[in-house]
Point group: C2
Chain length 351, copies 2
């Protein structure tokens, strides 16, 4: 939030001009000339004066001219300064907040999966850009229920229910057939051990259980522990849900098919985007990557606005919006911010 140290001591006039320039450019996607700027700035300055200021800003690397006789456009550095020190975010309109709340306030059918994709769709729908939401990490979510069900010879169905109503199941292949009562016993035993514990905790304790064979365990318990080992071995891979990619095709800065292809490939591959989103888990609130700042050149020309979301005071995921650098940050930032809070609230363990 503080102004970057370096040589960017700008006087008030330059700051205001930069601000109007960025706003104007965001509005209509065209290089802004000195004439327009002198009109729009609200200050009584002649185009010539503006030109002088522009020359300074250009030297500082805050704006650039596509060619000699075009107006100026903000550089990444210019956007950065704008966002960090000049931007005044606009609170969400009531309608928008309502729309978010209505959709995220969980109805009858409560289901984390669908909440996540709803959030992603909302983000893209409201901003007309792409919305992205990572699946929540379950490291800290508690186990509410666990149970084994016999399917057929050698196959056992394991069911896990988490505190946020997430249900996971998996079919285990086992050596011998277990009777329903044996499985019941195993379920009971493991439930007594693990229900109410966080997943990370469970994994840790399970490792202990597995390593030593205790005399006081009967065969069923041992089998139970072994099955649990298989169930919990799944390293929950990170993943995200993205929505509204097509929206990006409407922006003229992304009208190059080749550019678009690379971007969409990145969305499908997921690796780079996940990396980027991961960095935001540790951030405090809304975080913004402008253009190549992110370090991924596919995102050149794009900005990513993210915010982490929490369940029970633990950050479990990140959501955000991906769009052209030239986006209405004053609108997008609060949208991302509020959505993160609402999603967190909606996911919170509850009755």
């Amino acid at each position: 939030m503080a102004s970057k140290g370096s040589d960017l001591r700008l006087d008030e006039r330059s700051r205001r001009l930069l601000k109007t320039l960025v706003e104007r450019f965001i509005q209509d996607a065209q290089p802004v000339g000195s004439r327009t700027l002198s009109r729009d700035s609200g200050m009584e300055l002649s185009p010539a004066t503006v030109r002088n200021v522009m020359a300074d800003l250009e030297e500082m690397g805050l704006v650039a001219a596509p060619h000699t006789s075009a107006g100026r456009i903000p550089t990444v550095k210019g956007y950065r300064l704008f966002i960090d020190t000049l931007l005044k975010v606009q609170p969400l309109s009531r309608v928008e907040v309502e729309r978010l709340r209505e959709n995220l306030e969980t109805g009858e059918e409560f289901n984390p999966q669908s909440l996540i994709s709803t959030a992603s769709n909302l983000l893209s729908g409201i901003t007309n850009m792409a919305g992205v939401v990572t699946l929540p990490r379950r490291d800290h979510s508690e186990i509410r229920h666990m149970e084994f069900v016999s399917l057929s010879a050698g196959r056992v169905l394991a069911i896990l229910v988490f505190s946020d109503n997430e249900i996971q199941n998996r079919i285990l292949h086992v050596e011998r057939e277990y009777s329903p009562s044996e499985l019941q016993q195993a379920s009971n035993y493991l439930s007594s051990l693990f229900v109410g514990s966080g997943l990370m905790d469970v994994r840790r304790r399970l490792l202990n259980e597995l390593s030593r064979t205790r005399e006081d365990m009967n065969e069923t318990m041992r089998a139970a522990v072994e099955m649990a080992g298989k169930v919990f071995s799944s390293s929950d891979e990170e993943d995200y849900v993205i929505a509204g990619q097509v929206n990006l095709m409407n922006f003229k800065e992304l009208s190059d098919v080749d550019k678009l292809r690379q971007l969409f490939e990145a969305f499908t591959t997921k690796r780079d985007i996940l990396h980027l989103l991961d960095q935001c888990v540790s951030a405090d609130g809304v975080q913004i990557f402008i253009g190549e700042e992110s370090g991924y050149k596919v995102l050149d020309g794009c900005s990513v606005v993210t915010a982490p979301y929490e369940i029970d005071d633990h950050v479990v995921g990140v959501l955000g919006v991906i769009g052209p650098t030239r986006m209405a940050y004053d609108r997008v930032i609060p949208i991302v911010d509020v959505t993160a809070r609402l999603l967190g609230a909606a996911l919170n363990s509850r009755e």
Copy 2:
């Protein structure tokens, strides 16, 4: 397969020329001129003669010239004739069949969902176009297992396992709390009624059960039937998994961003594409829609090659490939065909 009735009685020479023209155009995406054609056809014909034939073909609407001095390109009608009567499909190479088999022959972790998306990815990967697979309808798949699990006051988890290992679960909201033994009883009762029956069958019989209150039912059974009613009420909505849409961005006939956007929107909306795929369920084998033949103008310039796939001799879904009209049908057709068979086999109920 038979030549369309109308006026398309073509002599052998015209047919051969049309065939080479289409092949050539598929190969290098450029209008084919008389000179090239006379060389490639393998027949001893001067360009002039070829031109005469071309004039005839154009009159019949089988080929068209983008402008006076370009060569000819096939029309939809031309493609149709080509595919129906001239095309000789190429059997898959051993490598390709192996790749398909390896990926679809179910390994340890058998799971219909992932098989479907593997199939979709394979289709797109091998053809370098977009692959699409509808989720299998479960009307005829048998129920292997059903069970109720108490979660907390007023919430019961219902679990359904189908013959193809598909697992579905759903949280039910109920009026009062049920004890584990009550739920066990309910599970047993319903299992005895429904395990081994097809879903369609179950729905029908359940309606009967629900409509009349029988005296010989105790309260638990009645509750069981009611819960089952909720579980099975879910009209399983149709859906599909699509993969490799980005591949379509590589084709120069789809280099118009606007065109692409419409296409991608259709993929996201799903409605039109589902409609189209639905029509193929009833078809016998591979079916091909060329360009606007499908009736959807978003698909102008695209062809769709589909084949239904079966579980236990019931057609349960459709898979296919979407790409530019100018695609290598001789390769794509067998790929779609074989994949449909392999996917069906892989999904077949089995130990």
